[in-house]
Symmetry: D2
């Protein structure tokens, strides 16, 4: 099931070392202005290039092939393609016998009986997030005046991100981080009491982003240590504005009109330059090995725009489900 | 959308102060032994009664009305009903004008244009979790040899739970907690690379449980501070057993055969005995008020079996989707 | 998958000889007036009693147990139950070894590995259509000013229905019929170009009604013999009113604002009083046998209100999907 | 909702006069042999070229861009693209003001508030069926030994198809037809008792094919005139082989192991060369006009392989849902 959404539905396809990756968005309303150039800023934010990111360089040039006519959405499915150019498949032959720790090599091989495209992670590659980001741009258009802002607020346990990256480069070991996300101007009433709580649908989308291992809304894990009289957010007016925001903008699974706020944990990039140990299927023994290929030392640097995209996709679906 | 699952589908219905609550499970395979008595142990674990839990006492007697014949599942939808008995609706008249902080009173009123059954939270009540627990028992049967064990490992910031409850009673203020959940004997290969990652589907179900505000898999938020060389779990044999389990049993969204492990944050019960402030729609001003009704001082005490149920439901669906 | 609908979702459960059958409707908007008495007229139309219908008499008293508060829908799932009273399970012991021709006995036994509740067809019984009819009443409320009218226009090949029934009684053999359905005041624009064409979603719901074996929209099978210049409906004004209605109100899968019109074929009741032949699993030979139990000689008499319900359910879902 | 299927899911996209059309298939099992050449025979059957078909010539060269690696399915989403080449968009300017009778011009304009790509029907074009046929080839692979055979058995009311086409050419008026479809080697037990009956899911897919206006299973509309003792198919052995096949291989919504058989009605091509009448939005009057562009005189000639594809897609989904 590689589809997300009930009304605003996103499908992604392609492999890291195939000819292209792409996304189809079904259920986007007609009449939304959508220019080619509108896609570029978020795609640019996701690109590698900064210190601590991979040397694989893709142009990430989006090709809109359906669903947009005269720079306006038509109501038909929107498909956007991205050609893969800078691939080096030979780098990946070895992983067939020595599954990389932290990566999905082992589980993909088992799940698909060895038929998966193993080159660069195949369909499971972070490369696919370029398609998520494109879908996120469309979703943000659907959300209109609602703003979503995700920021890397901590890397390698350090809130000074530059220093954290510098240390990782010196150390030649990958690091993770914390991304904080805030959504403003969201109306009251999105989300359902139980199975489609706002937390349920947002976390469902967010955990689709590779490397995410935790999410907390509002005070989150901190709330578990608080007293009710402190945690409860006093309601101050008829619009429901609260004095504090420990709930992160969600009560009983439903948005309450205050800022929706959550934090996600990004694990360290699995591809660390350090030597590691893994099982070798040929020699049938545990062996030391080193990762080849080009990788991000701190993938968390590129995650914020992807979290924004996942959040936008989830909220666009909630908006269309709410029908108001 | 009050339904969970693609193949093993769970629907819950009823209100806190209506005649009954219930659950329909569609997609459960035929031929699974299912006695009335099998439902009782988990229902018992969810019941109030201990210090720190509500004085509302429901018998929680399950009435199986379809889908089971001669104590075996038939393949038809399974419906189980629970009568409500000990309701005191008069307690709730006041909340129509003074929405309780931390509760869904305000958002439900807005979402449903004032037509929601406001008595005791209506459909949004924790009372509905009795239906979740019943569905969880069926799901556990589907999962067969897989075991799911959730435990309250911290309450009010204290790992000594008895002491934490005692302090809350003395303090007359509600507290939250941390529930840890471990799943054993789970096969390799459940979950999908992106939108239906194991983390996505489990978190979707878990955030359907009232009061949950955070979830982390494996090292979770701790992973954000670790280095890749430390976080990566070395693969030790051809079955994929890992030396450590920082991944919590999931790589790339897919179960890896090691223990699946996650922790959830439970916020303090919104209904604290302490005086609070909220908006009064009649007087159009912020006023102090005190919660009426009977409530849990530490709802986290009753949460573990509900987390087990949500997890079992999510995993039963993954199992049937995997088809093996 | 015993659920219909994407936004207006209907789940039915129960067995012919179990304690009750019921329906849960999820996704019904809040604020719709819904009295107990509103359910009765359509339930009455479905009841047996007339010449040619079964002698099993059920009161079909609906018990609304959730989702309606103060006679208005709340937005929460609506569940309605119907107790079974007049069951004679002993009548059905024999079918375990001699599957009845035309019935689902054989396929149910195989599909569910023998675990199905075989009494009176179990979950597959026409008894479940009482739940469909109840859901249809809710759906009609959602559709508001749109009217749906289904009529038995032919029975046993005869357009004089009374005469057809009389002949069947004399002949002591069951008969089928044709039900015509017309929907008025439907807006332009419901349905999707391909997979969720109006014909697709209506036929999906209609073929859920037992005994239906064909459906045609507008001129239907007659269209296959017509010329394009005759079949095309000339558009006469800016509202899209057409001179003829060979399309049955649907172009390219989308409603065009004219009357939506279709006809369905109802096969003869499988339970004919006549002697038949079937395989006997015990004697391992083909044997003559006669149906026991109480049955409708012409089930088509009771089908129109069920077709209206199926149509209303499909259209209510299209309406909520259209969002306007 | 431009997606079909619960487990084997098909998404189509593109427009008649856009750069390409395509299909993504999600949920196809890994390990199925799938060569580029395997797509060609069915694509060839769908092509124009014969007398009575359009002069628009597309190469229909499939470009497999994901989900297949080393000529085997990987378990990841399969995407196949088809470039559009022979488009003449100028032909379609006039339809913006004079909606063509029988076509979707009017309803698309209303549904999408005028934002639809109107060129050649845009997303609603029969051009999209090339994507359906490609998905059908994959579905047939999933179905393995099950064979699906659709045939044009009647055109313009004549069972001599060549004569029917000749008459249509002479007459310069479009015609429709009847397509019969038979499925062999299908196991017992596919389909669900109510909402996902085999008839429901097949008809849902079949009515996604443009120009289809009716479907009947087994004796279909003929059954409405038969007596029960004649219509019932006597069961002759323990495998469930029946003496007759009036049920068309489906009892109670579930396949019974006999040949699955159905017929569909194809309406005459809406684009007839004959002069017609329609509303002109500019002159605000009914006017005579003639269709421009290149069209099929008898689209039914090209329909059988598309019906096979729709059927294969529906059955592949039922197979994967059945899990056996």
């Amino acid at each position: 099931m590689n589809t997300y959404g009930r009304t605003f539905r996103v499908h992604i396809f392609g492999e890291s070392h195939g000819p292209m990756v792409g996304v189809t968005i079904d259920g986007c309303p007609a009449g939304i202005s959508m220019k080619h150039a509108d896609l570029l800023p978020d795609l640019e934010r996701r690109k590698a290039g900064a210190t601590g990111t991979t040397q694989r360089k893709e142009t990430d040039e989006p090709e809109i092939v359906s669903g947009i006519f005269n720079e306006v959405t038509t109501g038909a499915p929107i498909t956007i393609l991205f050609r893969n150019a800078d691939t080096r498949s030979a780098d990946y032959e070895s992983i067939r016998n020595t599954p990389r720790p932290g990566h999905a090599d082992f589980v993909l091989h088992k799940k698909y009986d060895g038929y998966n495209d193993y080159r660069g992670g195949g369909y499971s590659s972070g490369r696919l997030t370029v398609a998520l980001v494109a879908a996120g741009v469309i979703a943000k258009k659907v959300l209109n005046e609602i703003t979503i802002q995700a920021t890397l607020t901590e890397a390698g346990g350090n809130t000074n991100i530059d220093a954290a990256i510098e240390a990782a480069v010196t150390d030649q070991d990958s690091i993770g981080g914390i991304v904080s996300c805030v959504v403003r101007n969201i109306p009251v009433g999105w989300g359902e009491p139980f199975f489609d709580s706002a937390e349920s649908v947002i976390s469902h989308a967010v955990f689709a982003v590779p490397a995410i291992k935790g999410i907390e809304f509002g005070s989150g894990f901190g709330a578990a240590k608080m007293k009710g009289s402190v945690h409860n957010d006093a309601i101050m007016n008829e619009s429901g504005t609260t004095q504090t925001n420990n709930a992160g903008g969600i009560n009983g699974g439903i948005t309450n009109g205050n800022e929706l706020y959550f934090r996600v944990a990004v694990k360290p990039t699995s591809s660390t330059p350090r030597q590691q140990q893994t099982w070798n299927n040929v020699t049938a023994s545990v062996e030391a090995f080193a990762i080849m290929g080009r990788h991000d030392l701190c993938i968390a640097l590129r995650v914020p725009v992807v979290i924004e995209a996942a959040t936008a996709i989830a909220l666009a679906d909630l908006k269309l489900m709410a029908g108001k």
